[in-house]
C-alpha cells in the first residue's frame, strides 16, 4: 500500500469543494463567483483522477472524463466572463446583489 492513498485525495477534494461552495454563495463580485466555480470543478477533477488511479489503474476512463470537464470549464469561463463584461457595459455594475433586473 502506498503512503498516500485514495482517501487523502478525497479529503483534499472535499475541502476544496467546500471552499468553492462558500465562495459561490458568499462573494458579491461576479468574477469572484466564477473563480469559485472553477475551484469546485477542479475539486471534481481531483476526485475523478484519484478514483481512476486507485480503482481502475489499467483503464483511464476517469481521466477522459476530466478532459471533458476541463473542456466544459473553458467554455463556461468564456461565456461567463462575456456575460460579466456585457453586464458591466450595460449596467455598469458587477456585484451580483446589485443586479436585480429579473427580480420582482
Amino acid at each position: 500500500m502506498e503512503a498516500i492513498g485514495l482517501n487523502h485525495y478525497l479529503v483534499l477534494s472535499a475541502i476544496l469543494f467546500g471552499i468553492g461552495l462558500y465562495g459561490v454563495a458568499a462573494r458579491r463580485n461576479a468574477i469572484g463567483v466564477l473563480m469559485s466555480i472553477e475551484l469546485m470543478l477542479n475539486a471534481v477533477n481531483i476526485n475523478m483522477v484519484a478514483f481512476s488511479r486507485f480503482c481502475a489503474p489499467d483503464q483511464l476512463h476517469g481521466q477522459v472524463f476530466t478532459i471533458f470537464v476541463i473542456t466544459v470549464a473553458a467554455a463556461e469561463a468564456a461565456v461567463g466572463l462575456a456575460l460579466v463584461i456585457s453586464m458591466y457595459r450595460n449596467l455598469n455594475k458587477i456585484n451580483f446583489d446589485e443586479v436585480n433586473l429579473l427580480k420582482w
Partner: protein, 168 residues
C-alpha cells in the same frame, strides 16, 4: 519515490492548494484573488503528476493557468472601474454560507469514513498519454466530437455577448 518523500510532496502541495483556495474566496482585491487562483491551479497540476496523470497535468497548466486564469485577469482589468478594493466583497449571507459549506465538508468526510472503495492494485498504465489518445478516438469519439461543438458554440456565444453594440 520513498514513502516519506511522497507524503511530504503531497502535504506541501495540498496545503498550498487549500491556502490558495482560501485566499481566492476571502481576499478583498479581486486581482490578487485571480493570481492565487493560478497558484491553486499549479498545485492541482502537481496533484495530477502524483496520480500518474502526466498529460492532465500539462493540460491543467496550459488550459487553466494559461487560458482561464489569464481570461479572468483580462475580465478584471476590463471591469476595473467598479471593482474597488475598499468595497465589501461578501454579501449578507456569508456567515450562513460558511456554515453550510463547513457542514457540507463534514458530511462528505463522514460519508467517506464509512465508505469502502473497491481499490485495485493493478499496475497503472505505462504510457498514459498514448492510451488516453486512443480512448478519445475509439470509445469516446462521439463525446469528443460533441466537445468540439460545445467549444464552437461557446466561442460564438462569448463573441456575441461581449460584442460592442453598433448604433443603428
Amino acid at each position: 519515490m520513498s514513502e516519506t518523500l511522497q507524503q511530504l510532496a503531497f502535504y506541501t502541495d495540498a496545503a498550498m492548494i487549500v491556502f490558495a483556495a482560501l485566499m481566492v474566496v476571502t481576499l478583498r482585491n479581486i486581482f490578487h484573488c485571480a493570481l492565487f487562483l493560478a497558484l491553486g491551479f499549479f498545485g492541482i497540476a502537481g496533484i495530477f503528476v502524483m496520480l500518474h496523470a502526466e498529460f492532465l497535468a500539462g493540460v491543467q497548466v496550459m488550459i487553466y493557468v494559461g487560458a482561464i486564469a489569464v481570461l479572468v485577469l483580462f475580465a478584471i482589468m476590463l471591469t476595473r472601474g467598479v471593482t474597488g478594493q475598499d468595497m465589501k466583497q461578501t454579501n449578507k449571507q456569508s456567515p450562513v454560507a460558511g456554515a453550510i459549506a463547513l457542514l457540507f465538508v463534514v458530511f462528505l468526510l463522514k460519508l467517506m469514513a464509512g465508505a469502502r472503495f473497491a481499490t485495485s492494485t493493478v499496475a497503472p498504465v505505462k504510457d498514459s498519454t498514448a492510451f488516453l489518445g486512443q480512448l478519445l478516438v475509439t470509445r469516446y469519439v462521439l463525446p469528443f466530437e460533441v466537445a468540439s461543438i460545445v467549444l464552437l458554440m461557446a466561442m460564438v456565444g462569448a463573441l456575441l455577448l461581449a460584442k460592442e453594440k453598433e448604433d443603428e
